[in-house]
């Protein structure tokens, strides 16, 4: 509850253009590009919006990361205590989807899975589980290396973790492709809707996690890293890992 | 102190259970509209008392404790530990007693709403954007559409006086709601499910059903007349409808 001295801050207004640029990047790249494509079916407009939004988003993120590396925050070490609160809200988003799934499934009784659902390959999710757990472990090793200031080792293990994450995503794409070929698309029935939403939503978290890893990796090449970011990246990754257990057990094995 | 609390709790509990029981044992049939009006009076009295106490105190204090000088400060009491607890628990028990009383009255009215009398006449209702269709037990249908062809809107729902009516309702497209102010009932219709309400037309009356769940541009024009007519007239009407239908 105590607060470190803030005298270095009292002389000038703090500014950063990163949040604003990142936000407008998001605005163009997601809501507007989505609407252009799906609502107005205008490909040109979609490309333009995505073309404006993506670089803005990346620029905002890059600037943000570099600021965390070079500027002293008001109080050190707040992110590790803040992250758990954010994860609470993430848990509730996943719960929103899971509860929907349970509600539909339990009220359907014997009529589940609805017509059009093929047999699922249950080997792949097991392999994917192994890969994801392995990546959590490798990231932990990377963190150890970082603790000992071993940057080459840190980079190596970080890259291995990223590679495992990418393989995991590859499996998802392989599986989606396979299922789509069997005629099991998001629009097939209620189960396909929930299946693609939950796994897709989880995959999007993997992508965000990989993004964080890359944001850690790039400065790591010049032997720089932000302690809290390294820690938070790990906690987030482990969280995504844990969620996968629920995804796999509920969606594939129930 | 403790005694008072226990006493209050018991009063609340007894009051509420007594009311819940009273409604079960009474022999007369209560219909939803009647129990609604009865309950409404009860609740209004309750709320006027609650609001009156708080409101009157506020006005009294606002006048009485106006600052006497610009530098005056308040002398609000600093509560002791037991006063703090008392000021939390006693009001809570009172509020709880009131809630249980209201809840019990509400519950018994609710039972009236959900228990359909056995001799009720059944009508199937279908809602769609934006008109109503009614199907009687013998298969005769009637409908109402504000924008019907050539001003032919339809007859709406015609029911005989003196017979309870239960409606089994569903929708063909979006969520609608079937609300009749006259009989104080309302329930949504939705695709894939059947919901029900019942009402008791005791005297001749013409009233309206309005769609009360938002359903698009013509939501506010999705209404239909409900005519409670003497039994003989009803028979006449339904025979006429059956004939019209047979002729196509």
């Amino acid at each position: 509850m105590s607060q470190s001295s803030t005298s270095q801050h009292v002389h000038h207004w703090e500014v950063s253009w990163a949040p604003m640029v990142a936000t407008f990047g998001i605005l163009f790249a997601l809501p507007l590009a989505f609407s252009a494509y799906f609502v107005y079916e205008n490909t040109l407009l979609t490309v333009i919006f995505a073309g404006i939004g993506t670089p803005m988003m990346l620029a905002g993120i890059a600037k943000w990361v570099s600021e965390t590396l070079h500027e002293k925050p008001l109080i050190e070490g707040m992110s590790p205590v803040g992250l758990p609160y954010f994860i609470v809200s993430e848990v509730f988003i996943f719960l929103g989807f899971f509860v929907s799934y349970w509600a539909m499934r339990l009220s359907a009784g014997n009529a589940w899975p609805p017509e059009g659902t093929p047999e699922f390959n249950t080997q792949l999710p097991i392999i994917m589980t192994v890969i994801l757990v392995a990546s959590s472990i490798t990231y932990h090793v990377a963190e150890e290396k970082y603790e000992h200031n071993d940057f080459p080792g840190f980079r190596k293990w970080l890259i291995i973790s990223i590679a495992l994450g990418l393989i995991f995503l590859g499996c998802t794409f392989y599986e989606y492709n396979h299922l789509l070929h069997q005629g099991f698309a998001p629009s097939t029935n209620a189960f396909s809707s929930i299946f693609y939403s939950i796994t897709g939503f989880h995959a999007s978290h993997v992508i965000v996690g990989l993004g964080v890893f890359i944001a850690i990796l790039i400065p790591a090449f010049s032997n720089k890293a932000h302690k809290s970011l390294v820690f938070c990246g790990g906690v987030y990754w482990h969280f995504v890992d844990v969620v996968w257990f629920f995804v796999a057990s509920q969606v594939y094995f129930w | 102190m403790k005694k008072m609390l226990t006493a209050l709790t018991w009063i609340g509990l007894i009051m509420s259970s007594a009311i819940a029981m009273a409604s079960d044992s009474a022999g007369v049939i209560k219909d939803p509209a009647e129990s609604w009006k009865h309950l409404w009076m009860e609740v209004m009295i309750d709320l006027y008392i609650m609001g009156g106490i708080f409101g009157a105190l506020a006005i009294y204090w606002l006048i009485k404790y106006r600052a006497k000088s610009p530098d005056a400060v308040g002398k609000g009491p600093k509560l002791t530990r037991s006063q703090r607890w008392a000021w939390a628990i006693v009001p809570c028990v009172l509020f709880l007693a009131d809630d249980l009383y209201l809840g019990a009255s509400g519950w018994s009215a609710w039972n009236v709403y959900r228990n359909v009398p056995e001799n009720a006449m059944e009508v199937k209702v279908t809602g769609r954007m934006w008109n109503w269709e009614f199907e009687y037990e013998d298969g005769t249908t009637s409908s109402y559409d504000v924008d019907g062809d050539e001003g032919e809107k339809g007859d709406g729902l015609v029911v005989p006086v003196g017979t309870p009516v239960v409606l089994r309702m569903t929708s063909e497209d979006v969520v609608h709601s079937f609300g009749i102010t006259e009989y104080r009932v309302k329930e949504d219709l939705m695709p894939g499910r059947i919901t029900y309400i019942w009402f008791y037309p005791k005297k001749e009356a013409e009233s309206w059903v309005t769609c009360t769940e938002f359903c698009g541009a013509n939501h506010s024009r999705m209404y239909a007349p409900i005519k409670a007519v003497p039994a003989a007239k009803y028979q006449e009407w339904i025979a006429k409808r059956a004939k019209e239908e047979a002729e196509g």
Partner: protein, 534 residues
């Protein structure tokens, strides 16, 4: 304490990460949303003031434009005005000052929040530019929201952007309060407003994500062809309604709690009094509300065909909300007891709020009783209920906040004469507008109806309500103009015009500069923001 005047520097404002300036940006955005949504309200009232189409040539156009106005009005008022006005503006500006912190824990994330909020407002306003504005009401129930030709995507993205802004805000402020209180400041020494925002943010953190999930499914159903809400393919129509209200009922306490928090501050200051039974209000009242808020959502689904036992169970839990809220009421009203009350403009708003709160809160009780709601649901009675508690009580508390902290934020004094005229116009106007809605609601006036030709007897009441709305509109314009004019060239204010004992008044200049406090704050063990008696 004095401060040398600074030159206005636009880029320092736009790129700011300072909580006070972010607070002001929230205020500007939410008042902008309020103004546009208010204009929609006036159009709604004019349309209803006479039978038949009033502002359109034919019934179809009347219906379509009315629905678009009403959509924008409801969605913007709740999501873009009140919630950000209370938790964005008021919490941002004053919470760090009240706890003696130099800023929030994550200033850059705070800036991200405010920009996401602005992006949400931009998407909502784009609805006026595109040909097929959303027409699905703020509740967005499927299947209509999926079948409509309107642009449901913009509704979804507005919710996403504003929701994400809220979540980030919640994380930020919870961490700030937990870790950045001034040395010596214990939990029982926090301002009531601080507690009220803490509890509101706990609700936001847990429930907003569920709403985000719900509207995401809506988006998928409409644009990617999924079947979450389609019973013919195994989906469930009522699922959306449940998820929506699982968030949107607790959301009303995200409004209620900070609104009450502001009132506690104002009432305590202008009664120069301590809070009556502080601990009961905080631990019983506020936390009690948080605890119950998640178990009552079905009271919005009483008429939607939920199983009987849930409807009865949630009737009981809904009624039980009167316990914690009653504790809050007791300590709010009790703070007047033996006070030394003066009636400056913020206090005028606060006093009116006491009564508006009673009317709005108590009319929630008949709605909570299932059997009564089976008639009242979806009538004007509902509108009257929530306009009293939200559209007036909570809105007036935002106004009370702006006036109360006006000298703090601008260093200047508002114009009291115009402010008072605005107050009376507002207060009389809202009662003239919304009292008739109680009456015609009980008599069966359905909501979301521009057309009521089956009930011609309501026309007079609608007409009176329109006159009331015009009074409100004039009051609002005067009030908003008063803020703008006074901020630009009002008289200079003294440092602590209300002689408050709270940190934001006693330890900072008007307006506070970067870093807030001239020197680090420490508080004594027996200090509280309300010790006037000493």
């Amino acid at each position: 304490m004095s401060k040398k005047s600074e030159k206005f520097n636009l880029s320092e404002w736009i790129f700011t990460t300072d909580h006070k300036r972010i607070g002001v940006m929230y205020l500007i955005g939410s008042i902008a949303a309020f103004s546009v949504a208010g204009v929609m309200a006036i159009l709604i009232r004019i349309e209803q003031s006479s039978l038949g189409p009033t502002l359109a040539a034919d019934a179809m156009t009347a219906g379509q434009q009315y629905n678009q106005w009403l959509y924008f009005h409801g969605a913007a008022m709740i999501l873009a005005f009140l919630i950000p006005g209370l938790t964005g503006f008021a919490a941002n500006y004053f919470l760090p000052l009240m706890i003696g912190a130099a800023d929030v824990a994550f200033p850059r994330i705070n800036a991200l929040s405010v920009w996401l909020f602005w992006a949400g407002i931009i998407v909502a306003l784009l609805g006026f530019v595109i040909p097929d504005a959303p027409d699905i009401m703020w509740t967005g129930y499927p299947p209509y929201s999926i079948l409509t030709g309107g642009n449901t995507a913009f509704y979804v993205f507005t919710v996403h952007l504003l929701g994400f802004a809220s979540i980030l805000g919640a994380v930020n402020f919870l961490v700030t309060v937990i870790y950045m209180r001034a040395p010596g400041m214990g939990w029982n020494q926090l301002n009531m407003f601080v507690w009220s925002t803490v509890t509101a943010f706990v609700i936001q953190l847990v429930f907003v994500p569920v709403l985000a999930a719900a509207v995401t499914m809506l988006l998928f159903d409409k644009y990617l062809g999924t079947h979450f809400f389609d019973p013919s393919a195994g989906g469930d129509v009522l699922l959306y309604q449940n998820l929506f209200w699982f968030y949107s009922h607790p959301a009303v306490y995200v409004i209620l709690l900070p609104a009450l928090g502001i009132l506690y501050e104002v009432v305590a200051t202008f009664s120069k009094n301590r809070i009556f039974n502080y601990k009961a209000a905080v631990y019983g009242g506020m936390w009690g509300v948080v605890l119950i808020s998640g178990e009552v959502w079905v009271h919005h689904l009483y008429v939607s065909g939920m199983p009987d036992w849930i409807r009865i169970g949630q009737m009981i839990s809904t009624l039980l909300i009167s316990l914690p809220v009653g504790l809050l009421a007791i300590s709010l009203f009790g703070t007047l007891y033996k006070g030394a009350i003066t009636f400056e403009l913020p206090m005028k708003y606060a006093v009116s709020c006491l009564f508006l709160f009673l009317i709005g809160g108590l009319t929630g009780i008949p709605l909570a009783i299932t059997a009564l709601d089976l008639h009242l649901s979806d009538t004007s009675f509902i509108h009257a209920h929530f306009h009293y508690i939200m559209g007036i009580f909570a809105t007036f508390s935002v106004f009370a906040a702006v006036y109360y902290w006006f000298p703090k934020m601008t260093g200047k004094m508002y114009n009291d004469k115009w402010g008072t005229i605005g107050f009376w116009l507002n207060f009389i106007g809202v009662n003239v507008t919304f009292m008739p809605l109680f009456k015609i609601g009980v008599d069966g006036m359905p909501r979301r109806y521009w057309n009521y030709e089956m009930f011609p007897q309501f026309e007079t009441w609608h007409y009176i309500a329109m006159l009331g709305a015009l009074l409100v509109a004039s009051g609002m314009i005067i009030t908003i103009l008063n803020w703008i004019m006074s901020a630009m060239n009002g008289k200079k204010s003294v440092d602590n015009p209300w002689k408050s004992k709270s940190l934001e008044w006693t330890h900072t200049v008007n307006p506070p500069g970067p870093g807030n406090f001239l020197k680090d704050v420490k508080v004594a063990d027996d200090w509280t923001p309300y010790d006037y008696g000493k």
